[in-house]
């Protein structure tokens, strides 16, 4: 098993772990956190899977992941602003229709 494959596998596990967190938790901040972990997993898999080329590393996936990181930050910032707004207008931090968190 080569080194990039270890990281690819870890990336896939991070992605699935984040998916679980996104689905299982009701608190919005936690969901956003989980989505970020998913994203990190995807980026890791992306870099690692493309890192198996011999010689100098391929710059194209690096640039793509940079783009991905910035896009994810933009999403996170809007998601957090939305969560804060929901907390401020209705004093709850989860989506409606879910059981009140204990």
């Amino acid at each position: 098993m080569s080194v990039p494959l270890i990281y690819t596998a870890a990336g896939i596990f991070l992605f699935l772990l984040g998916t679980y967190g996104l689905v299982a938790y009701a608190h919005l901040l936690r969901k956003i956190l989980a989505a970020n972990i998913m994203g990190s997993g995807v980026f890791m898999a992306f870099i690692a899977v493309a890192g198996r080329t011999p010689g100098a590393p391929d710059p194209v996936p690096h640039a793509m992941v940079l783009t991905g990181i910035v896009v994810t930050v933009a999403f996170t910032s809007v998601a957090l602003a939305l969560a804060v707004r929901i907390a401020r207008t209705s004093s709850r931090v989860h989506l409606s229709g879910r059981d009140e968190e204990q």
Binding site: V42, M64, S90
Partner: protein
Amino acid sequence: MDAVLLTHPWSVWTIIVPLAAAVLAFLVPRRAPLAGIITALSVALFVAATAYRIFLAGPHTQMLGGWQAPLGITLRADGPALIMLLTSGLVGLTVSLYATGYFTAADRQQRYFWPLWLLLWAACNALFLSGDLFNLYVTLELVTLSSIALAALNGSPAALDGAMRYLLAGLLGSLSYLLGVALIYGAYGTVDLTLLGQTVRADGLSRAALALMTAGLLLKTALFPLHFWLPPAHASAPPPVSALLSGLVVKAPLLILFRLWFEVFPDTATAGMAHLLGILGCGAIIWGSLMALRQQRLKLLVAYSTVAQIGYFFLLFPLARGEAAATAWVGVFLLVLAHGCSKASMFLVCGTITRLAGHDRLAGLAGAGGTLGARLLVFALAAVTLVGMPPSSGFIAKWLLINAAIVAGQWWYLATIALGTLLASGYVLRVLSLAFTESQSPPLPVAPRILRWPPLALSVVAVLLGLAAFHPAVLTLAGAPVSGIILLEMVP
């Protein structure tokens, strides 16, 4: 003259102009409606020029930055992209006109509507033209994020909730898609659609990547049973926004799906996978229609109708495998155009009715003769296309789909289309019957002209497109991954 018309990359301007206008609208909010109208008119013009060029000179590509794929990104103006651009141009122009009347200058919503909508428009057009898997991811994110912001525009608790659901579903979808792109890049070292189409092997890895990307896009396009986020988001947004979300935005991930399945992975996808999507589509048609029948609010009814209509688009996956491919292809793309126009028109009418009556509860609209009755007539005209009655474009589209189902010998899809049409007439009639109910509601004021004419014009266009469906149908097949004859008449 023709030399310029046939060589200039007109389609690029459908991205650039809204981008620049969005910035201007953000900088000078007072002039935003003007910027919006100018943009709407010029985008319509550029779409027309693109259509002219494709019609005469065929599909064309553009290597951005002068770099050839796989190093650079390629924009492709082909038939499928053109139909999407036409939808975008028609819906965008109408909604822009309507929005100048709907949002008032004193309104904070207006200040942010225009930059957000213009960015959304640019993103949609960019997505339709993109020929690169990773660039599709970026454009898709731009589409999703601007849609979310628009869905939350009025700041009501319901809208915020809907927007949050939309955002989380969107994130899950796009990250799943991106993981698929990562696997593809790892296996083939390129993300260009055309190059991938030539090199992709039909093995387990491609299937895994296709499954990831498809799952993500299904979530984004809200196919049953992943539609949970759509009705709250679409129903609680301001009406012009709902019109854009339903008429335009759900088609963006759909086009990516079509490109993936028919251009990149035509051999990877198995018949079983295609039928799974077809069956989910049937589920969407039936479930969405039944839910629409049960709604108590007009906007929710229209939103669930979108859930149902999305189902029809997915019949393409099973029906386009075989000799009926071209027929099904043209049918579905015509349906995209027809649904875009009719659904946008319906949401705009909803907006006018809500503005007049102060609410959109169906029970409270009973006996809505007079001014409201006239609005309901426009609604009915749009519904002609939605349900698929002749001579509307919706009728032609469904007719082609039915022919394709007959040729392919897949009767259950035929049955679902018939049942879906029946249910659709059911929920539309439920609304129309209101106009003929006796009641003593006080007369309502007349809506301003700008809230009356755009939806009417759009629904008229949707009906008339049925009479002039030949050119769009031919254009749909320009550069399409399927070919063959369009079977117009089929005796079972």
